[in-house]
Chain length 189, copies 2
Amino acid sequence: MRRMEEKIQTEGKVLPGGILKVGNFLNQQIDTGFLGEMAEEIKWHYEDSDVTKILTIESSGIPLAIATGMAMEVPVVFAKKHKTSNVDGNAYSSKVHSFTHNEDYNIIVSCEYLTENDRVLIIDDFLANGNALRGLIELIEQANAHLVGCAVAIEKCFQDGGDRLRADGVRIEALAAVESMTDTEIIFR
Amino acid sequence: MRRMEEKIQTEGKVLPGGILKVGNFLNQQIDTGFLGEMAEEIKWHYEDSDVTKILTIESSGIPLAIATGMAMEVPVVFAKKHKTSNVDGNAYSSKVHSFTHNEDYNIIVSCEYLTENDRVLIIDDFLANGNALRGLIELIEQANAHLVGCAVAIEKCFQDGGDRLRADGVRIEALAAVESMTDTEIIFR
């Protein structure tokens, strides 16, 4: 998505440690007009896939998931993060390791919101090592629902989460795919 | 908002401890079509108020804030929750007490996303004791921005947060105002 690459080039900032800061339009502060454009792009990719539900993870995945759910006219479910694993039997849960915070957390969705009749599109803001997406896929498997694919705003291709998921047969659509980045330059795939 | 009251009557559940569960359309699972209707209602209330920015708090306030931001064509900023108060000088922060979890947490917004030129509409899903809204108002005051008012999906009038905020001169619009509720009946104001 050309407009996404332009936004990243003009408004993104590269911080030490391979962090791409897009807080002024994608998280923290959200450019709602541009969010609508991103949602239309994801809809275009998946509109023939009979998606019945969008699944995301709190908090930064929610804006794009909501905008896309409104565009595609399907409900949005978001997995909640918990430090503890004291989950009752009425919820699906999986463990995710966060490299950013170097800790494990559990993600949880109530059983009533994911069923075997659902065709699920996963949405998140970033795809780097792929751990969050794998956790969400595990929830879909526990529900015996069908994974249609994933859509992310930005894929960091220099971490290999996306390529490993594709190798496992998962469809991934990234609105922008960053091949490499330095302090002065961002190269897209 | 009549449709909101109907949704609560037909799909809401009253749980012990004064909890109104609306997880199947407002949080956890979001009915995106109905979310759009709620956003249009808030836009109708505030469209002559020259709002420049919507402020909310992660996570459950984000869906309604995003939908309203898209309807009103203004950016959305969300405050992040932190357990610790190790905030650098580049962020506004305030302390909020959660009665639900019986703990304090800090809410934080980077200084670059709230300025003295902003006319801010606060959005959240629930208004009960009003602590979260008061924390957000404090961030707006720190930024010397102008508070236009607040909009919430559901106000629990039997807790007095909304009435105390109104007494302090804060404009509050609630899409549904629950006067009282029992296991078998929900009464709206």
